[in-house]
Symmetry: D2
Subunit: 425 residues, 4 copies
């Protein structure tokens, strides 16, 4: 060891082999040209046992070592002699102090005055701000001058999700995308997940794009909302406009969804749809006034399902209900997903990635798209827990509605009651 | 007119405006820097009338004029003072004489000894060989030394298909691809087309890829065959192997299609499937011996539906039924499609384009694929009459089977009887 | 003619055959079950001649006739006995009067007090508002209570673009997409177009996505801006952040763009990049303070090239320069493109379609994307004049920069001088 | 332990943590509801050390245990008390004995008469046939009646490739696909790999599709062949026909590759191209007769680079050089790749997957395609070692040629000599 060399002990605890944590740590150290030595190693001999390892990490100087320790941290290693987290004040609104700790989307704990506290509102690429004894995961846009922002890696513990084991779709398809799997079998399994979550009063959030309407899936989605399977809807102006256009005029962007022909003067319908809602005041007003009598947005209104319609530069109109400020829309979306159990994303790359950025890695995330690139990008951008179903949302949604109805009927024979709505909403 | 300039009269007949023939001719002449003059022009005043135009075409010299006339020919123009077709002998097997006439996939007539004869077996990029008074559309591979091959453009008449008008899917979606149309409505319309063809004792050919099995569409396709909707199946080794694997072991490439999990030792199943059929002798033998008792291939065998399994360099095995010689397989496929009324292509780019090459432009062609590029390529390669449905074949096929069953039931109430099989088979 | 039947004369003028206008009109009438009779027909006998047709259109009643006339209007037909446009007042902000005229993106004239006036700011799916003698194409969001909005079809003339004829890329690739064309030859032709426009002091607008930086095209784009080929840049937060991250830290989303490896602590760089610009005040301030010394955004600042960074719900930060309100961003984008000669869209579906919505069909539009769906959607959404180049923007941009340099050198030998910047900016 | 329970010891050796072997074994046992106990565990304390583990595996009965052991085997575990491999005779040509051992594409050893022998011609989904003391990896199609086929898992050792560590493209991109990486940097690294292999007299095999010609990459590929970078070319009829068409007529499927316009009578060129080669006798004959004077196929002929042109059902013609029997073509392809060091696949899904099936996992495999699905499918089908470059082959090939030229020049300054051709050919 030359005089520049620096070393530090780290610990690994839990399912460190099963979750691939141990080999990932070895890998990372070697990739970064550091060295490691195993000080203690106690492997669980059965699958329910947890394991423990203590390793000495060496870097060629302190900076090198810090870089390595920083990366190991993100993987889930932690420094045993953990002191309290170190904070520094934000020098200005929306400006981070040098060396800020950038969050992962995994559950994270910080040591504040000797106590480990879980970080609230976990999401990726954010900062941790300490307020009294609370640690809040905060996006750059919400950092205020003087906020105590966590820096470095001390006093922080990341707990990556255990690889799920069992026989649900999230287990055998974790982090995979494929257009070559049996579609109907997958849909049945998603239906089971949804039903389980609803029986446990969990929260299901739908993220959807306008192709839901174009491809003819809107009636099935409206049915899902009506039957209590949806606790929040995150979408844009287009989904709402097309849904309303269909319900007012039977067309979507002028195309008759039953005959698949263009309706005469149909190209005006989407502007009329926006205009009529504006005339009424809002979607809710249009429902109250009896102007809008069916569809996705109608069911949201009458079933008290909150929705966030985020504006975009592509929008016509937009509808009066649309939040045109991107940051305000982001905040409202974040609010809806923070206690979600399942997020079902359908036919929208923009909204899926935007919502993915706001999710903890513990939220079960399903992304349905006919374009495999949507799912790949979602995962590449960090939402690694998502499972991708490459299919046509226009056939997916009707099958899902059928499967849910069939499953619920067959379950009712066994257990009585349901139709209890989630309390979280 | 300088002394080099050359000119020639052409005629246009039929629905020359409605089919865009007239403007296409004008366009082409201008694009090629030729000139035209309208000698006679009689436009139909109602939609049922046909029109007539006579034009003088000028080129800067004879070669230039011939080039222009050659292109106009392909569009459907013809030379009024038409002499008999001119032929030249093929100098060698598989070698064309200079200036050979290259066919389109449109219905074509040739003038032989003063009489107009329709060319048999019309397909694109082939030659016309004259045998006595018969004109046969022949691919390069089948040209024999001494064959009388048509050269130049004289005595040839091309009749492009009229743009269909009405309210079937082929009319409003002619030459279009879109992933943003109402899937279930489209499927219903395809079901109606299929039923109409079957009521008229027409021929329906299925072209399919292995994803039909992977995505769980195999039972629906088997049902279609069992119910008499399929008159021929064109596929490869993989579709048959996966279908047989599923019927012998419940898996497709080792994946259990119901639980969507990998079966233990499942990776061996496809080799076992091939091996078992080889042991039996052939697929037909395996059915006879009671080894294969269900699925796509089984239904083909018991319902006497002919199939062509074309070999490819990707194949494992292959099955004893597979035609490993590409040219022999091509000939057999061509035989099956030449009197087809509908060709339904599903989830295979290779076979779809290969079959497309063999089709006359009058065959109603539907291409179903989750990848829009398959449909785009099919059309770019000349099968312009195809309509593209961008959807998941694993949900498409079950819906199609449901729609067919529902439609047939509702039609039976009106007209009695059906279940008459096509006579063409 | 029964007593309900209604009829009306229309006229077609100009290149009505060459532009396919005549057959489209016939087609549309037949598709809608109307009837037509040709009253007068005078076809140009040479390619420079214009043609004229007068047709009597019949519908089964007045409403049916109006529907037909409405559609023919959009194609470019007009009603000869044209009266002034008819207007009705908007009953409320952002609410259209019944029967409003919905614009195409083609050049449009309206007859106001007996005079034909061209509509300003032409774009699709908007309204025409009359202010004194001016007709302004206005989006729904900008319609104010009491605005005189054009209704019906009287007094309106649409002039669809002639099909370009000649040998530039816009002519032979009009409305086409293909991934199977010679990439370098296409790039050379785009370079020629760009150079021609710059020599004529025209305006070139770039619309770009973050993949320009990820794929390593940022230096070439910066060079284009430095050399005066770019008059405005329309993008989002991500492009600017990645460009700035690369210029401050050599990475893009943490990946070293030279070694293609992840930099240690690189995942923090994009937050640092935003934070540093916020600390400086804005991108311009960061340039002034010497903090940002190269790249796309830097070149925009030092070369006075205006940029619009539109916010989206996916954004981190965002940068202080980002317009977070979608409608405000849309207005600013519209301002930049309204006098554009060429719009070059690269690697962004959202921005391409958003900008496409704001363009007149006379703007030469090039869409470069590795995903053919981007180009297809752009055209499906109405930007039919776009040509699509399916290629990798990371190799496209460097080749384009090389071709421009080579071409300009070879042209300089012939004509002297250039480097005159567009005056439009 | 109940009386049915079965147990067996296995061993893991080598880089069992670094290669994720240990956690994969634990995972698999738990997934299959087996149990494990660690008997001995000796972990290397430095990165160069190898590790050793001995585990007791328990299943609920012998069959269950055998299933588990079978799966662990494929991962790389082996049974310490290894007996000789067990063989059974093939009952018939192309028929496997029950319980046959299905190969992975990893290096494999078998114990024959007490000695470990490496299996020859390793590839996936094949059988091991023992001939004397040789073990040959044999595809089903080549199994002969009476062949001694390995069954079960005894006496077999699989050695999965170590995860490469270092700074070449194969290390940091192992098993990844992305369209969002810096294209030029990636190309530079591929050029370095190619140059390294050539300096070591290694073998480089090109697998290519016709889009190489359509997109204008043919001259660059011809240059690569001319400069000695290519040791074998695997392609189909289409690549060769388009290349020859371009060299005879300047077009590809009738399109002039320089002006990007359709040539008059150009649609006949590809048939002429085939016909002319047939007239000459073969491609080699056409070169000898001075008819073919440039391009990819020409360079193969004059530089003695072997090529395999595999037939397909899409083919026109085909050329006389095409192997129309799929199984024969497969054998010839297999022959060419069995000692390859680098396989560079470009713009062909069919050939890439077909060749991938024939490769050992130790062959460095690069797949270049504009469609990410090609790369994803290649990996899903088992060629997990491939790295995917999502780019346009029409810009990729020219850059690669430029980079190779630049690199070779800069290297020559350091080391003298090269232009030594591979001896393997």
């Amino acid at each position: 060891m030359n005089c520049m060399e620096a070393m530090r002990e780290i610990e690994l605890k839990g399912h460190i082999i099963d979750s691939f944590l141990l080999p990932k740590v070895f890998d990372k150290v070697m990739d970064m040209n550091g060295e490691f030595e195993i000080i203690e190693f106690d492997i669980g001999k059965h699958k329910t046992d947890t394991s423990y390892a203590r390793l000495m990490i060496r870097g060629k100087d302190q900076e090198h070592l810090d870089d390595i320790i920083g990366e190991l941290h993100r993987l889930g290693a932690y420094v045993p002699e953990a002191e309290d987290v170190v904070v520094e004040k934000a020098p200005k609104d929306k400006v981070v102090p040098k060396g800020f700790y950038s969050t992962t989307n995994h559950t994270t704990y910080v040591k504040i005055k000797g106590e480990w506290r879980q970080v609230c509102d976990q999401k990726m690429d954010a900062m941790i701000v300490i307020r009294d004894k609370d640690a809040i995961c905060t996006t750059l846009g919400h950092v205020k001058k003087g906020d105590k922002v966590v820096v470095g890696n001390s006093g922080i513990r990341v707990v990556p999700p255990e690889r799920p084991r069992g026989h649900t779709i999230f287990e055998f398809m974790g982090g995979q995308v494929s257009s070559e799997r049996p579609s109907q079998s997958l849909i049945r399994q998603i239906a089971e997940e949804i039903l389980d979550v609803k029986h446990n009063h969990g929260k299901i959030v739908i993220v959807g794009g306008p192709a839901i309407v174009h491809t003819g899936g809107q009636q099935a989605l409206a049915e899902l909302i009506r039957n209590g399977y949806v606790d929040a809807l995150l979408a844009g102006n287009a989904l709402a406009v097309h849904d309303i256009e269909y319900n007012l005029y039977g067309t979507s962007l002028g195309m008759d969804l039953n005959t698949v022909e263009l309706a005469p003067e149909g190209h005006k319908h989407h502007i009329y749809a926006i205009s009529e809602i504006t005339r009424a005041g809002s979607i809710k007003d249009a429902v109250k006034q009896g102007k809008l009598t069916g569809g996705i947005m109608y069911e949201c209104v009458v079933n008290d399902v909150p929705y966030v319609l985020a504006g975009s530069i592509r929008d016509d109109g937009p509808l009066p209900d649309v939040i045109t400020d991107a940051m305000k829309a982001q905040d409202l979306m974040r609010e809806q997903v923070k206690d979600a159990d399942i997020v079902l994303m359908m036919a929208t790359m923009l909204h899926s990635i935007a919502v993915g950025n706001c999710l903890s890695s513990s939220v079960r995330t399903i992304c349905v798209d006919i374009n495999p690139a949507t799912v790949t990008k979602l995962m590449d951008r960090g939402t690694a827990q998502a499972i991708g179903i490459v299919t046509d949302v226009g056939t997916f949604l009707p099958w899902l509605a059928e499967e849910l109805a069939a499953l619920e009927k067959s379950r009712k024979k066994e257990v009585p009651a349901l139709k209890v709505k989630s309390k979280k909403r």
